[in-house]
């Protein structure tokens, strides 16, 4: 896995995106719940999907992002999408 797609690296970048989105100064954790803890609504999840696509250069279907409950789920989604992209490009 490329250096930029390690779990730590992806989490840090996802955390930064979401912090800006929700206007939070407090640290987020892998277990932070997108809806229950951060109150993210459906449109914020669409915005997150777009932002993740731009940040990581991958295409993430909105529906897949909507299925994620926590930051950890998002990190896993990004990592698996990156792996699939890599397979396709081989």
């Amino acid at each position: 896995m490329a250096q930029e797609f390690t779990q730590e690296n992806v989490f840090a970048r996802v955390e930064k995106i979401i912090s800006v989105q929700v206007g939070s100064d407090t640290a987020l954790s892998p277990g932070t719940h997108l809806q229950d803890d951060l109150g993210m609504d459906s449109l914020e999840l669409v915005e997150l999907s777009i932002a993740l696509g731009n940040e990581f250069g991958i295409e993430l279907p909105d529906a897949d992002v909507h299925r994620c409950a926590t930051l950890s789920d998002i990190v896993q989604l990004v990592q698996s999408a990156e792996s699939e992209e890599k397979v396709k490009s081989v």
């Binding site: 989105q21 206007g23 449109l43 915005e47 777009i50 696509g53």
Partner: protein, 423 residues
């Protein structure tokens, strides 16, 4: 016995700033709220001045997380609605409404909103993104930000309002229709609390073009003069736009009194009519406009002899000024020359969908102070305009217990509210 409707909360944002106090103070000081428009390129329009709230800092009032997802007109609406609820003592310390603590508490709370243009500032930015960079670069919030009912939706979500919701789009009568419908809902028992008002943010290239092409905007404002909004004045030549919002909490008097609410005034009568005359022009004879005034007074049991003031729609469109003058004559008969006519919007512009709600906010304070604000820009009455227009300086009067607040939209959509001091 028919229930009585009262106003128990008020929030207003005008070109002068946030809150009713600054609006009143600036009007009393005779300060103009009009300035050369600088927030967008005005080279394509003639009316280059307006009532723009230049140093608006919405993040001081609501979360930046909300501000970035909505258009300016929703921001204006959200803040003024929040202030109305605070004023009505219906917000808790955490800015949640009191009904949020009750199961199904928001079910009997409704909202009505007047707006004309929607959220074109947001929409124009996102359309540029679409054309320049493609659909993935369009904000997902476009879906909920641009359309005129966005204020209704945003305020309802923010404050857990789950009863009746309506948005009225009828040009400069939109906000008045929101207030009259709210009063109707209370009288008919369809809600216990109504949040009603209007919001408008007309300063973006396309929105400005929309109102410019109506042909109703002042052309004298092309040189940047700020004394151009002149209702009923000999030099009247059309509208000058302004931005802002005003919201009110309306309740049945018995409910308001039982919860110990303070009462600003009674909404004692209201009526709406249509000229049924033309798509754009108001009927010159003013008959249907007069009918709205008469019906509102009849409902309140107020006669022309006991009417203390009229806040006129005062568009400054020459034909409309003459028609409104005729309508006031028809409604008030021999008393018409006696009744002072106020058009404070002369100082800060016409807020279109929020015009009448802002007038209502001023009228409430006017009744409290027994002072009628003046038309800042008025020298000599126009031909066909022969009422007692309060001009240049505010006027103190001994009795200001009843006040008609008029609104008239394009093509003659007429809406009138009669306010009465609550004794």
């Amino acid at each position: 016995m028919t229930a009585r409707v009262v106003i128990t909360g008020m929030g207003v944002i005008s070109p002068y700033g946030v809150g009713p106090a600054i609006l009143w103070d600036k009007l009393m000081a005779g300060e103009t709220g009009l300035k050369v428009l600088t927030s967008f390129d005005t080279s394509h329009i003639q009316c280059k001045v307006g009532g723009q709230f230049s140093d608006f800092r919405p993040e001081s009032y609501i979360s930046p997380r909300i501000v970035r997802k909505v258009d300016r007109f929703s921001t204006l609406g959200l803040i003024s609605a929040q202030q109305a609820l605070q004023d009505a003592d219906l917000l808790l310390d955490n800015n949640k409404p009191t009904w949020s603590q009750q199961e199904h508490g928001g079910d009997r709370v409704g909202i009505t909103v007047g707006n004309n243009l929607g959220g074109w500032e947001f929409a124009e930015r996102e359309l540029r993104n679409l054309w320049k960079s493609g659909p993935r670069e369009v904000s997902p919030y476009m879906a909920t930000a641009w359309f005129p009912a966005a204020v209704q939706g945003n305020v309802a979500i923010q404050f857990g309002i789950k009863g009746i919701g309506r948005t009225f789009l009828s040009d400069r009568a939109s906000g008045a229709l929101a207030l009259t419908h709210a009063a109707d809902c209370l009288i008919r028992g369809r809600a216990d609390i109504m949040l009603a008002g209007g919001a408008e943010a007309p300063f973006s290239p396309y929105a400005a073009l929309c109102y410019e092409t109506s042909g109703f905007m002042s052309t004298r404002a092309a040189d940047g003069s700020t004394d151009v909004y002149r209702p009923f004045d000999r030099a009247h030549d059309g509208l000058v736009a302004a931005e802002g919002a005003a919201f009110f909490v309306l309740e049945r008097a018995e409910d308001a009194l039982s919860r110990g609410a303070k009462v600003h005034a009674e909404v004692a009568g209201w009526a709406t009519t249509h000229d049924g005359y033309d798509f754009v022009q108001c009927a010159p004879d003013g008959q249907r406009y007069a009918a709205a005034m008469t019906q509102a007074m009849d409902q309140a049991g107020v006669t022309a002899a006991t009417l203390d003031c009229v806040f006129a729609a005062g568009s400054a469109v020459p034909d409309e000024d003459v028609s409104e003058t005729r309508a006031i004559h028809l409604a008030l008969g021999n008393e018409a020359p006696r009744v002072p006519v106020s058009t404070p919007k002369s100082a800060f512009g016409n807020l279109f969908g929020a015009a009448m709600p802002v007038d209502t906010a001023i009228a409430l304070r006017s009744m409290q102070e027994k002072v009628i604000p003046a038309a800042l820009h008025f020298d000599q009455p126009a031909s066909g305009c022969d009422l007692d227009y309060v001009a240049r300086t505010p006027r103190s009067i001994d009795r200001l217990d009843t006040c008609l607040v008029n609104a008239r939209g394009i093509g003659g959509t007429n809406a009138v509210v009669l306010l009465r001091r609550w004794l």
